[in-house]
């Protein structure tokens, strides 16, 4: 079957999709967006978390056919997504989810040089993960970033218990989570300073 949807602001078309394929498979193997990770494919690890019409979901549990006409944001588009939000939403109320309209206006910038990563513009949560040492093997990182970014959008000053609850669907095997907590606290603090 054919599936048309929007990923990181750009219309995408996938052809000859087998009906049993997941959104995760389509992103990784058909659209050249392997940033969302395939750690368990049973909704138990959160590594494949993307935003579907603004809502964080496990892309391994979304059938490809279910995304027809819908909007997906992946880790590859997170920096631009966050930038767009910062520029247009002006969110100090803490109640600024991403509307479908906002998602539709947004589009990823093409052609970043990611050869070394240096000089790339990152979202606050991405930068905080690097600075706090929250990245080791990094396989859980994309899913955690999408989930943490969305939590900070809803709840700009989370308690530790809030962070733990919001990230309880994302397994990490390397870090023991302590530095992930540090990173989210850091991003929240920096976000707070910026307002």
């Amino acid at each position: 079957m054919r599936v048309n949807f929007t990923v990181n602001g750009r219309p995408q078309e996938a052809d000859d999709v087998w009906e049993g394929e997941s959104l995760l498979y389509v992103l990784r193997e058909r659209l050249g967006l392997p940033g969302s990770k395939n750690a368990c494919e049973q909704g138990e690890c959160g590594s494949c978390t993307v935003r579907l019409d603004g809502v964080p979901v496990c892309s391994c549990l979304v059938a490809a056919g279910q995304v027809e006409g819908r909007e997906v944001v992946t880790v590859e588009g997170l920096a631009d997504f966050a930038k767009e939000r910062a520029e247009h939403a002006g969110c100090d109320s803490g109640a600024c989810g991403t509307s479908l309209d906002a998602a539709k206006r947004w589009e990823a910038k093409p052609g970043q040089d990611s050869q070394t990563g240096e000089g790339v513009e990152l979202s606050p949560i991405q930068q905080a993960f690097i600075d706090a040492g929250a990245v080791q093997c990094g396989f859980c990182t994309p899913g955690l970033l999408v989930a943490a970014d969305e939590m900070l959008e809803r709840n700009p000053s989370p308690t530790d218990a809030d962070i733990r609850e919001a990230l309880s669907g994302n397994l990490c095997r390397c870090t023991g989570y302590e530095k992930i907590l540090d990173a989210v606290r850091l991003a929240a603090a920096r976000q707070g300073e910026a307002v």
Binding site: W18, E41, C58, L61, G65, A166
Partner: protein
């Protein structure tokens, strides 16, 4: 495999009538795992994501009309007062990502004894509105579960709405798992006090071939509360009543040993949860009585 994408409820019913083997998929929590791991290769997948009415909910006089696909997150956030037991149960479902997509219809459709919503629905009292091209019918929740992962749906029927009684008293829900989040129930228990009818209802999950009520325990407690005038005098329930209630709940369970826990433990844990929840709900009833949200 064919992927059917009905744009409306009527189209969905027509598709299900034409292809009774079609597997409905909404949140994907159960179906996609089975597909990803090659446990299931349905001839047809019937996508219900496009059907708006399944995502709608409405608080009525007596009942909450809950669309089958209303995500657990929505229940947690919006229906804590009206459906406290189900809201607590929703909060224990898997992970935030899953709660964002999964709904009660999925739990009912799969009818696994481990589904988190079942004990809360049994305790609150609910009816499942199912429909086919032949028409619609209401199935009382007590008659819905017919066997291990089997329910009362006819092959051409789809789950449309769950009508859950609005809480008229405190409700609680707990589940035991060996992890502090994102865990499938080893067993689960739900309790609802219904002061209007002066009855209690229970629900037990993962401790019998189907979700069940502990009817003998309910009958015992109903009688004991009535006899002691507890509904009126609001006295603390005596430990011996609580113990007997807990023991009867344990006894109602008919669990098995499996990789997640022993039958003996499940029976034990059901009793502990029953006793604690009786304490929590009764305290709440004796206290404000009107703040009906769960404590969590």
């Amino acid at each position: 495999m064919d992927f059917l994408r009905p744009a409306s409820w009527e189209e969905a019913l027509a598709a299900k009538a034409e292809h009774p083997t079609a597997v409905p998929i909404a949140g994907g929590t159960d179906v996609m795992v089975e597909i990803n791991f090659d446990h299931r290769r349905p001839e047809y997948l019937l996508d219900l994501n496009r059907i708006e009415l399944l995502r709608e909910w409405e608080v009525g006089e007596e009942n909450v009309r809950l669309g089958a696909s209303v995500p657990y997150t929505t229940i947690m956030e919006n229906l804590r007062a009206e459906l406290p037991g189900l809201a607590l149960a929703s909060h224990t479902v898997a992970s935030p990502q899953i709660r964002n997509r999964g709904g009660v219809g999925g739990n009912l459709g799969t009818a696994s004894p481990a589904g988190d919503a079942h004990p809360a629905l049994l305790a609150a009292g609910a009816e499942v509105e199912v429909e086919s091209v032949r028409g619609s019918r209401f199935i009382p929740i007590d008659e819905f579960y017919t066997g291990v992962k089997r329910n009362a749906l006819a092959p051409d029927e789809l789950i449309k709405t769950v009508h859950v009684k609005k809480a008229d008293g405190p409700q609680q829900y707990s589940k035991v798992g060996t992890r502090n989040a994102m865990v499938i129930a080893v067993c689960a228990f739900g309790l609802a006090l219904h002061p209007e009818t002066r009855t209690v209802r229970t629900g037990i999950g993962s401790a019998a071939p189907t979700p069940i009520r502990a009817k003998e325990a309910e009958a015992f407690l109903n009688a004991a509360l009535e006899e002691g005038g507890f509904w009126d005098n609001g006295k603390i329930i005596t430990p011996s009543i609580a113990k007997q209630f807990a023991d009867l709940c344990s006894g109602a369970a008919n669990p098995i040993d499996d990789v997640r826990g022993t039958a003996k433990y499940r029976r034990h844990a059901v009793g502990i949860m029953a006793r604690r929840q009786l304490g929590w709900t009764w305290e709440q009833y004796r206290g404000t009585g009107r703040t009906l949200e769960g404590a969590a």
